[in-house]
């Protein structure tokens, strides 16, 4: 669709920002340079756990081109605080979580390989690296624990003194007694043990930062790869103590992907900003890919035992879950809410489950911090729910589709036993449509045909649900969040009738410059190229909570709608005066304000001009100008849901999996731009397939990272994926004005259980863990041959 037209909601408008990106005109943090800038390199711990006896920087400081070598002592001297975790979780016994200190540069202990020991600032990056080799660190190596399963062992290494047995919290949710009672009357119990593999986020653009202190204004500017620059400013100001908010500008320019990993406030940008004042020059740092594997917050990493209580007809009576979650060596910015309120609250899945009880132990290990990664808690919940219901169906001899149908929530609103109140959905509709698109009933014939070719074919379902539109501020506040999760918007109409929309959301691949502009174009009846979206700069946008958790449509665009309501209301007042009509008679449609029942009217741009020249209305009653802001706080989460079907074949000779068909039927509520939504679904499925078949961060027993590059960390490639068949069902979200639910994480949440369920179907065993690599599946196929021979 052409850019110079009015773009209705639901139109597949091409992304406005793509011309800039495709022609190399994007402006990422690393593309920027400040006059006189110096380069930072971080000396990192080579050990997973060690005491720092001494750091001798004297030789390094004398190296050519070195500006400064700074350590944690220098940070402490300047009175800067450590990094924080912004969500307080309480253990079952009521005690607050055991959060160890997290200095941006280590003080006396390093706790994972890659932990920050010192920063070397020099004229060039190469000079900084040369000098880093001359910093002498006297380490006392301590015993380390990298394996989640060993972290709570009595007598093992203690990573933070405040956390005995490395336990951050022992949390619970749900009704323990009610769940026990459900198990007591169960006709069948299905149990499953799951490892949710640890993932590296791998955005295409690595993190980067430039700190620039202006001595004239005594103010800092920080360019950084952030999904939420205002939150970064708030944390750096209020907790780290870098500068008051009015003296700290944070700019997140073009950002090349985040997947959660750029939500958090890390050591490097904190140090770059601080050091720029210390050395009197702008300080720039760009993460190398190897550093990203070491230090970007990882995702997932759970060990879980789940048990499902069923009656004689396959109806779920109760669900009991015990999870151990790896937090890494420090609590990252939002880490504590991921395995708790973003996880256990989704354990009801799409099903009416009368009783649920979940315990989560969060533990420290000598590994990189773990925090939100695309889906954040909800993929872990969905994997558990969709695996155990599939296993239960097979144990009961039921069709997995029928097993799901029998347990679906069908009446709304539905209050689950784990906080969430599902507001709208039609799970049967998405299942039916997915099964039809996948030709589910034709599968046995396809399986038989594959077997004649020596291939093991399987089909797997995933009926996922997620909680998005994060989140009602009072609700998250009651659960321990340190912030509210509303969003802001400002609509600035210029005198010539074009519009700037300022949003507290941040686009780093989601296409907001198009989708948000499309909404404004449709509402105001002006061509989309007359709408610009402004984001990512704390000096331009007053405040905002950023983009993650599929919130920018449901929350960010709702704020824009609120601001547009105000713009329209004021414009109507102005139009009434100009047209000498009563305000109640003014109608606004297709970009024109008209007096009802007449042909008298004004184009939107004419009203805008009148607003600014202010000749034709009383400025004592109506202020000049046309600019309105709004803050929108959602009244509920949103609940995107759907059904994915994966069909695949395994080559038993090599263990290679080929996905031969993928059907995704999603209910995202109202869809503004289906082209962008499809892109989000495609990318999400690819990441989910990556988790299921390929990706895994591995540490050895000494806490050394084994998968530190693409030589060993496998990412999904285009050739690993089929052409997806996508379908939509639609139930409007009742809690926001547009009826939107969010689509950014659905694929990554839905895909892993669909793949593993298909593999269990193909190989005839439930004993398949992620990532299901060729070597692993070959061994499973071998065991299958042996098993069949024995039978």
């Amino acid at each position: 669709m052409n850019a110079s037209v009015v773009t209705p909601i639901g139109a597949p408008v091409r992304r406005k920002e793509d011309h800039r990106f495709i022609t190399g005109k994007g402006r990422y943090t690393d593309d920027l340079s400040r006059p006189g800038q110096a380069h930072a390199y971080f000396l990192r711990s080579p050990y997973a756990h060690a005491r720092i006896r001494a750091i001798d920087t004297s030789a390094a400081i004398d190296m050519p081109g070195v500006v400064a070598v700074l350590t944690g002592k220098d940070l402490a001297q300047d009175g800067l605080g450590g990094l924080i975790c912004g969500w307080m979780i309480h253990s079952k016994d009521g005690s607050p979580m055991n959060a160890g200190a997290h200095p941006a540069l280590a003080l006396d202990t390093v706790r994972y390989v890659g932990d920050h020991v010192a920063v070397i600032i020099a004229e060039t990056l190469n000079a900084a690296k040369d000098a880093a080799a001359a910093v002498v660190v006297d380490y006392e190596i301590l015993p380390a624990v990298a394996d989640l399963a060993q972290a709570q062992a009595e007598g093992g290494p203690v990573i933070h003194d405040v956390a005995p047995r490395n336990t951050v919290f022992e949390w619970e949710l749900g009704d323990k007694a009610g769940t026990e009672a459900a198990f007591a009357r169960a006709a069948h119990v299905t149990a499953i043990d799951i490892v949710n593999n640890r993932l590296a986020p791998n955005p295409m653009e690595p993190r980067a930062a430039i700190g620039d202190y202006d001595a004239g204004d005594d103010a800092f500017t920080l360019w950084t790869t952030s999904q939420n620059p205002h939150v970064a400013r708030l944390v750096l100001s209020a907790f780290v103590g870098l500068a008051p908010e009015n003296k700290l500008r944070v700019i997140a320019p073009d950002v090349g992907g985040g997947f959660g990993s750029k939500i958090f406030i890390y050591a490097e940008e904190t140090v770059c900003a601080w050091a720029s004042k210390r050395v009197g020059r702008p300080v720039k740092w760009t993460c190398e890919r190897g550093e990203a594997f070491l230090c970007d917050a990882h995702g997932r990493d759970h060990i879980t035992r789940g048990e499902l209580a069923l009656d004689g007809e396959g109806r779920i009576l109760g669900f009991r879950v015990k999870t151990t979650a790896n937090m890494g060596a420090y609590l990252s910015t939002f880490s504590s809410c991921v395995p708790t309120y973003l996880y256990a609250t989704l354990l009801s899945g799409q099903y009416a489950i009368p009783a649920i009880y979940c315990e989560v132990d969060a533990v420290y290990t000598n590994t990189a911090p773990v925090d939100a990664y695309r889906g954040a808690g909800r993929p872990e919940a969905t994997f558990l729910v969709e695996r155990i219901i599939d296993k239960a169906a097979r144990e009961l001899g039921m069709d997995p589709a029928e097993m799901r149908r029998r347990n679906f929530v069908t009446a709304f609103p539905h209050q689950t036993p784990v906080i969430m109140c599902y507001d709208a959905g039609d799970y049967g509709a998405s299942l039916d449509k997915a099964l039809a698109l996948a030709d589910y009933t034709g599968f046995p014939a396809r399986k038989a045909e594959a077997e004649r070719r020596g291939r093991l074919r399987g089909i797997g379902l995933s009926a996922y649900i997620e909680a998005c539109g994060i989140a009602p501020s009072a609700a998250v506040g009651s659960l321990g969040a340190g912030v509210g999760l509303w969003e802001s918007a400002e609509v600035r109409v210029n005198p010539t009738g074009n519009v700037e929309v300022l949003t507290g959301s941040h686009s780093h691949g989601q296409g907001h410059e198009t989708t948000f502009a499309q909404l404004v174009s449709a509402r105001l009846g002006i061509p989309i190229d007359q709408v610009s979206v402004v984001h990512g700069d704390t000096d331009k946008v007053q405040f905002g909570m950023g983009t993650y958790g599929s919130r920018s449509g449901a929350v960010g665009m709702s704020a824009i709608v609120k601001a547009l309501d105000k713009v329209e209301a004021k414009a109507k007042k102005i139009a009434a005066h100009v047209l000498e009509a009563s305000e109640g008679d003014i109608e606004f449609k297709d970009g024109r304000f008209t007096v009802a029942g007449t042909d008298r009217g004004l184009a939107f741009a004419e009203v805008a001009l009148n607003a600014y020249v202010a000749h034709k209305f009383p400025t004592s009653e109506i202020e000049p100008g046309l600019k309105e802001g709004a803050f929108y706080d959602p009244s509920n989460f949103t609940f995107p849901a759907g059904c994915h079907v994966c069909e695949l074949e395994v080559d038993p000779e090599t263990g290679v999996t080929q996905i031969v068909n993928w059907v995704a039927v999603d209910d995202f509520g109202t869809v503004i731009n289906p082209m962008i939504v499809e892109g989000q679904v495609h990318g999400g499925i690819a990441q989910g397939v990556g988790q299921a078949l390929m990706e895994r961060v591995a540490y050895d027993n000494d806490g050394q990272l084994v998968t530190g590059s693409y030589m060993d960390y496998q990412m999904p490639r285009a050739e690993d994926l089929p052409s997806f068949t996508l379908g939509l069902t639609e139930t409007r979200c009742p809690s926001n004005p547009l009826g939107m639910k969010g689509c950014g994480e659905a694929g990554a949440i839905a895909a892993p259980p669909a793949v593993i369920n298909a593999l269990t179907d193909a190989l005839g065993t439930q004993d398949i863990s992620m990532p299901a690599t060729p070597a692993k599946l070959w061994a499973v196929a071998q065991a299958r041959v042996t098993r069949r021979a024995a039978e």
Partner: protein
């Protein structure tokens, strides 16, 4: 990377003399292994001697039955060469399976063979096809050239000028790629020659590329896919890592060998 000096000679004899006269010199061919190593500061040469502008090191020719490929010939040139396709189609196919387009447009046959990465593709072809490596001072049979992981018979200052491949019987290369790196996890080059079958294996051996003699004997006796049924590579001789243990690599070797035999046809 660390700072280093840089030379770009125009003649191969100049490159050799630089290797003798300079402090800690290192030859730079396509750089597909060396440059990442330098970037990670895992090597610190005194001078890089760049071979890319020595005209007589590049090019493909056929004289009689012998295919001659200059040491600095890029993988992409080998993969698309009519001469190579006519003389040794399996070699062209192998070159087209190395890395990705960027690697194939920079990497060279001489650089790959001199590096002797245990997961590289060219060593399997050189060994199976009975190639001869022509250096500035001698001719080395491939069977004498490879000496273990990243080890070759080359002297410190010795330069490969070209690789010569004799005309062979029908051949095929089948590779199972490492899922992450795309290097060979098991690459098997099978040649059905007049004097018997040769089977060279890369990506598997703990000592690098090797000939699988048991498979050669079985296929020489009867060239058919099922001739490999009863034999197996000893898993304890195969590499084991995050991506697969010795048993898995032994299995892949057998499957790739069989698929190469199928490709040649009985």
């Amino acid at each position: 990377m660390y700072a280093f000096d840089y030379q770009r000679p125009s003649f191969s004899q100049d490159a050799v003399s630089m290797m003798r006269s300079l402090e800690e010199p290192k030859l730079l061919a396509g750089g597909q292994t060396l440059l990442p190593t330098l970037k990670q500061r895992l090597a610190q040469p005194g001078t890089l001697v760049d071979l890319s502008r020595i005209p007589d090191l590049s090019g493909i020719s056929v004289a009689g039955d012998v295919l001659r490929i200059g040491a600095m010939t890029r993988h992409a040139e080998v993969a698309t060469s009519d001469l190579v396709h006519a003389h040794s189609p399996a070699l062209a196919e192998l070159a087209g399976m190395i890395g990705d387009p960027a690697v194939r447009n920079r990497g060279t046959i001489g650089g790959s063979l001199a590096n002797n990465d245990p997961s590289a593709d060219y060593p399997a072809a050189a060994l199976a096809l009975g190639a001869t490596l022509v250096t500035d001072r001698r001719r080395l049979a491939a069977s004498d050239f490879f000496r273990g992981l990243f080890e070759t018979a080359l002297e410190e200052d010795e330069l490969i000028l070209a690789v010569e491949f004799p005309k062979s019987g029908p051949a095929a290369y089948r590779k199972f790629r490492n899922p992450a790196s795309r290097y060979a996890m098991a690459g098997v080059f099978v040649v059905r020659g007049a004097d018997g079958v040769r089977v060279a294996v890369t990506g598997v051996g703990q000592e690098g590329v090797f000939r699988w003699k048991e498979a050669e004997a079985a296929l020489t006796a009867r060239f058919a896919p099922d001739a490999l049924e009863g034999i197996a590579l000893d898993p304890h001789t195969a590499m084991s890592d995050l991506h697969g243990d010795g048993a898995y690599r032994a299995q892949l070797t057998k499957v790739m060998a069989r698929r190469a035999v199928e490709a040649i046809g009985g």
